[in-house]
Amino acid sequence: MGRYVVRRLLQMIPVFIGTTFLIFVMVYAVGDPVNAMFGERAPDPATAEQLREEFNLDKPIWQQYVLYMGNIFTGDFGNAFNGQPVTELMATAFPITIRLAALAIVFEILVGITLGVLTGLRRGRPIDSGVLMLTLVVISVPTFVTGSLAQYLLGVKWGWISPAVSPAAPLRELLLPGLVLALVSLAYVTRLTRTSIAENARADYVRTAVAKGLSRRRVTVRHLLRNSLIPVVTFLGTDVGNLMAGALVTERIFNIHGVGFQLWQGIVRQNSPTVVGFVTVLVIVFLLANLLVDLLYAVLDPRIRYA
């Protein structure tokens, strides 16, 4: 197990370098951050020169990248162009987005897996077809449409909730945004669980468990569910990245000051250190989530052993 983890971590390195370099090139090669700082006016050449030197923008791109990565690993994400350390922005933004994404994952697991088990065991019945159709509809309506509609109906028309989230973003106010963020993935979780359960329900070990005289509940939860969860866990792992990206949209709708908000500010102002910093952290989160998924396999399926 230990060796496997080390090997996986080593494998992550080239992927990490490739992904961050790609982002780095996108941000630094396409836009000119120094010009962007001055808006419409042309900057004074000497000042621009000085700024370029200060932010290492006068060096070739790969050298900038190496310098930047070197700094990151000492915990220095640089300063936004207004002088505020990027880490400071992260410290306020990430807890909010993590709360939002965690809430979404809880919704996915609780609602998605429950619905999946219920429909998977009743394949072909009306409830199955109904839920299946519903998941199709949910998948088809883009998150920003669901979010805007929910905001209009619940927040404006019926006034059940406040349509915007306050800057502190307490958990209570994040419930609706969390559900909106979760919806599409929730539908996928339902479908995956349903297919997996329906497939395994006919397996020999289930018949054996029933023949042994185990209760229906125990067969479903301990035997069937455990074996059916592997594709679902894979999905949830890769979904962490999607949730972080989906938070961009949800945070925009409900005015939540999380990662999406900061990233958006960084992009609008072409504040490259902010953008690259946040995206780098998101990529790390995504890669670690995938590693975690691989390790969870062994827990769920005892046949999988990592040498």
Binding site: P14, V15, F16, G18, T19, L22, I23, M26, V27, V30, G31, L136, V137, I139, S140, V141, P142, T143, F144, V145, S148, L149, Q151, Y152, V156, K157, P163, G241, N242, M244, A245, G246, L248, V249, R252, I253, L263, W264, I267, V268, V275, V279, L282, V283, F286, L287
Partner: protein
Amino acid sequence: MTGTPAIEGPGGAMEELAEEGGGGLKGAPPSGRGRPARGRSMWSDAWHELRRNPVFVVAGLIIAFLVLISLWPGLIATRDPLSCRLGRSLDPSSAGHWFGFDTQGCDVYTRVVYGARTSVTVGVCATAGVAVLGSLLGGLAGFFGGVWDALLSRLTDIFFGIPIVLGGLVFLSMTGSRSVWTVVTFIVLLGWPQVARIARGSVITVKQNDYVQAARALGAGNARMMVRHILPNAVAPVIVTATIALGTYISLEATLSYLGVGLQPPTISWGADISAASQGMQFRNAPHILLYPAAALSVTVLAFIMLGDAVRDALDPKLR
């Protein structure tokens, strides 16, 4: 090998079957044109399955209608979507203007109709690009294996590390003016690894089959093996992935436009219209400017996802 047959081949097969009515083909002897009977029966099976599936029929009708109004929006909308009068800003629906007016005083109905063209164009072109590029790279990597395969696998890993909306926000915001083709190019650039992975796996599975080994033993060259033996048998998963992706790409374009990094005026996009409606919650007093484009977008995406679902059920024998 070019990537074109990967998407045209099966479509052509299906049309051909449709013309022949799809009946009694299973035992048909190989025709002189050289399409082998076994290749035919799989598609004929799938076509039979599809025609009996109500989901496919409904989705097909909606999509046919969408394609029709994308080509000739004038059929059901007689006004000019860009002629707007600020005096009628946010007016509710009235006779002749069923969906009312938006903030700029444009007729919402006309804009909703014209928006179909953008969505369908982006969806179809992006999917075609992704399918061609993905199946070409993935297929070749799977076929030749070795260094290229390892390289491609790492490359897809790298692209998978970037969530597509995040990449769009970063990349598209840096480009000054964006047309439909900018967005399509972006989707193809970030979307191809998904298809490449599927195509690679599919080709590797097919490559190990006895008939491929037999063809090799009989002295078939690489090109012949790929086009005649591997392509027809490995293409189904790619089609399924691509069909489902079509719906998600339409949704993606709308999301990017909503975030302000997608299409820009004067291109009419449902996503951009919904974004405009959400600015400062203008839909508070005029919900119609939000609801109609949102409904059109959702129905369109739903139709394509339903189509993908039906095609998967028809082509995946495991689910029968």
